[in-house]
Symmetry: C2
DNA sequence: CCAAAAGTGTTCAGCTTACACCCATGA
DNA sequence: TCATGGGTGTAAGCTGAACACTTTTGG
């Protein structure tokens, strides 16, 4: 690296990744926060993060951080934005690449989460966070809110099998608005992306609601024919 | 920084910014490319970029790079995505934060552009680029294509005064599709964001077309009342 | 006078929205 | 039997898409 430094006047920087982890508990949209494990400001609420290692890509770093926090792999994880203000971290200059993850809230490993002193908070009411982490969270919520209307990413927050009322309350939680039951059902079913199962989920009512599965193959075929998802 | 390094096992990285500069010549959507001025692979086409300096934020770095290339300040400039694969730059590991700029093509400083051995290329036909710069360009085009439909950013690519046919061909160039003249005019004028001037531009026809200006104040008032731009 | 671009309205189809009642079941 | 959430259809208004002729004027 020395010759590059001399040649280009390049100055190296610490680079971190921070993860905004979303979950849905059939009621509220939530984020997973940890109590900062290291000094300074140890014990304050924060996003889970970590430094990018030598020989590690940004995507790999974000997967590693998410795994350390939740024990999960193979989850929806997407780069959000890179935060690079000089004084964003008062301890040292750190450039942070934020990622957001959508997880099925029942899947995470409780032990690992507990070890990290992590907790779920409603996105409508979470504690004060260190540095610029609140900006990160807001940026992620905005992105999720926009993106869930045009891409079928909401399903990442639900179990594999889910009911239409469940899906509807997910959208209501993300978009922060009530939706019409009949119109919602009509719209989502008219896209032909959901396979109806014969099982019912009686967890939420005596009558029970039919379970559905998102059919990714159908989605990809339709997409390749010019279809676009829209709520 | 030493104590941080030891404490966190953090490894520092070279961080660069690269700029995708868009322009519109009333005909085609274009990008500004340079001939790489340094070894290795000197002379190959590339985006304009530069390393982030000590004490410089990412936004500042991108402004500096854009200024060095075009002589322009105060232009639309937005962070696009951060590219961090290990081997994206075969010379050294460099994490690159890509930005895209929308400039009024008549404004750039020709001398500076010439000094940089820079040239405009159609987005539909540009030369092979170094590293992952073609991915960056495609990502930027996709972003622009999506964003110009829901945010009034197209105006950044036109002179302050422009005609409706000019605006329409801009959208046609970005979206790569013909639009209906009457429907386009109806839609754009119904938003009440344009001020009609009494002057005409006769550059493109004998009859001449009325000039308009985008009224940012009106846009902000409408936006605060829940209006949203949509082409 | 003619070529070339600017400017102008209407109709139809499809989509979005609003809205109210019956069903199934466990307690 | 009753309380609770699940499931269903239709009408009205609005929006998007298709479409052709007149106007202006420089050469």
């Amino acid at each position: 690296m020395e010759f590059i430094k001399k040649y280009t006047q390049a100055h190296p920087h610490l680079v971190a990744v921070d993860c905004i982890v979303f979950g849905f508990d059939n009621e509220d949209l939530k984020i997973l926060l940890i109590k900062r494990p290291i000094e300074p400001i140890k014990g304050q609420w924060s996003l889970m993060g970590g430094f990018v290692q030598e020989g590690e890509s940004l995507d790999e770093a974000s997967k590693r951080v998410l795994y350390m926090l939740t024990g999960l792999t193979n989850v929806y994880l997407e780069q959000l934005y890179t935060f690079g203000d000089i004084d964003r971290d008062p301890v040292a200059r750190v450039i942070s690449v934020a990622y957001y993850a959508l997880i099925k809230i029942k899947d995470y490993d409780e032990k690992i989460v507990k070890n990290n002193s992590a907790e779920w908070f409603k996105v409508s009411n979470y504690p004060k966070l260190i540095f610029d982490h609140e900006t990160m969270v807001q940026t992620a919520i905005n992105k999720l809110r926009r993106k869930c209307r045009t891409q079928p990413i909401g399903f990442e927050l639900l179990p594999e099998k889910f009911t239409i009322p469940q899906l509807q309350s997910l959208y209501e939680a993300i978009l922060m608005q009530k939706l019409d039951k009949r119109n919602f059902r009509k719209k989502i079913l008219s896209m032909n992306l959901l396979d109806k199962l014969s099982e019912k989920d009686k967890g939420n009512s005596k009558k029970g609601a039919y379970l559905y599965k998102f059919n990714k193959e159908k989605y990809e075929i339709l997409t390749s024919k010019g279809f676009s998802f829209e709520i």
